[in-house]
Amino acid sequence: MTPPSFSPTGIRFENIDKRYGGLYALRRVSLEIAAGECVVFAGRNGSGKTTLLRIAARLARPSGGSVSFVNSRAEKVETLLPAGFVAHATMVYDELTAEENLLLFARLQGIAEPAERAAKLLREVGLEERRKSLVRTFSRGMRQRVAIARALLNQPAVLLLDEPATGLDPQGVNWFAETIRGLRDSGRTILMSLHGESEVSNLATRAIQLDSGSVVADTRTGANFRSILSFAGA
């Protein structure tokens, strides 16, 4: 994967509440994710994993509390495009080619030499030969490769992955696990929610369990990694 050209960045969640009407999706969630950690969120459907990741990506605004990015000395840092986000939905345009998609998002993000950056990432995710093909002709695994490439365009220090391996075949999961391993080893901070224990979840250095919008277990405070991961498939 791309050599690091980012400052190690962590995330601090402080008393995060998220309400939809009268329903709490998150309730007073406070977490300190250190720079370089690879964290897996586990929990039943509706436990708040996706909401927390979308708040971290600034796609959703918390009803209360705050989320901030911190450097390796735990000091708050201001950053405009801090996180790469990959979800189950690919977040790329089916009617554009893989190359056009990357060029579009690279130009929107103001990346210098977007064509070179797009070509490099397409090479890294193994889609160089299909760069001129429309994304709608791609398999699920290939689409997810484009999604990863899109998320890495601005060389983010933080990656947010919301069930990104769902629907991938075993070969796709293997490729994805290897990619995440490379990104983790490059020093990026990774937060991911996953369904079921897999090669991807085993890459995590920390596991956090959410239930009804609250943190109920965290390996940092002594909870068992395996027992938390077992909830990922619940």
Partner: protein, 224 residues
């Protein structure tokens, strides 16, 4: 500058995807054509009647076509959650609206200009002498329709019964545009030597007011 460059990039994407699929242009053009032909067969209007009622009929067809065209504007962004990717990439979310409303205005204007000769022939209405003024009215009217429609499309895309919601919200809101555009167009069809500056001015004010509102509130319309 970032707003303008982001808007230009996104406008390029809107035009590229539309001219690749031609879904919106084909649908709206065929729809307006059907309405024009059906009204013509139903009323069989004389030339004088066409000059009196033609403008209203034409603008009603444009408005219904616009509600068809604007429906998928934000719905298409939900299929693969590309709206989230856009929000993560642009520094000012207004660029997303600006690109979409410029694209919608262009598509509407193109549809209107393609069908104007058909309307002129079927309803025996002279349009050549006042074509430049008609283009101005079509532009101001289409811009107003696109601004309001793009904003409401963003709202309705997140709602239940979204397919029904947009026309229900849009058509009443656009009544002032319908009235002003129809009056100015009817005067031009009637061969009036004077352009209705009052009507044109109203359309321009409507466009500026709605664009300013969208600029101020657009960010909130995209939030989850």
């Amino acid at each position: 500058m970032a707003l303008l460059s982001n808007t230009a990039v996104l406008l390029g994407k809107e035009l590229r995807t539309e001219f690749r699929s031609r879904e919106l242009l084909t649908t709206t053009t065929v729809f307006v054509l059907i309405v024009i032909v059906l009204f013509s067969f139903s009323f069989d209007p004389t030339s004088a009647e066409s000059r009196r009622f033609g403008a209203g009929l034409l603008w009603l067809a444009f408005l219904f076509a616009a509600s068809l065209m604007l429906q998928p504007c934000f719905l298409r962004e939900q299929t693969s959650d590309t709206l989230s990717a856009l929000r993560l990439s642009v520094s000012d979310p207004f660029a997303i609206f600006l690109a979409k409303l410029v694209a919608n205005t262009l598509f509407l204007l193109l549809t209107e200009l393609m069908l104007l000769p058909v309307f002129a022939v079927m309803y025996n209405v002279p349009v050549l002498a006042t074509l430049h003024w008609l283009i101005l009215v079509f532009f101001l009217g289409s811009l107003g329709v696109s601004i309001a429609g793009t904003a409401l499309s963003a709202i309705s895309a997140q709602a239940r019964m979204r397919e029904l919601l947009l026309p229900l919200l849009l058509l009443p809101l656009l009544t002032p545009i319908l009235v002003a555009s129809t009056e100015v167009t009817a005067a031009l069809f009637g061969g009036s030597p004077y352009v209705q500056w009052k009507g044109l001015g109203f359309l321009a004010v409507f466009d500026v007011a709605f664009l300013t509102t969208l600029w101020l509130l657009g960010e909130y319309l995209l939030e989850e």
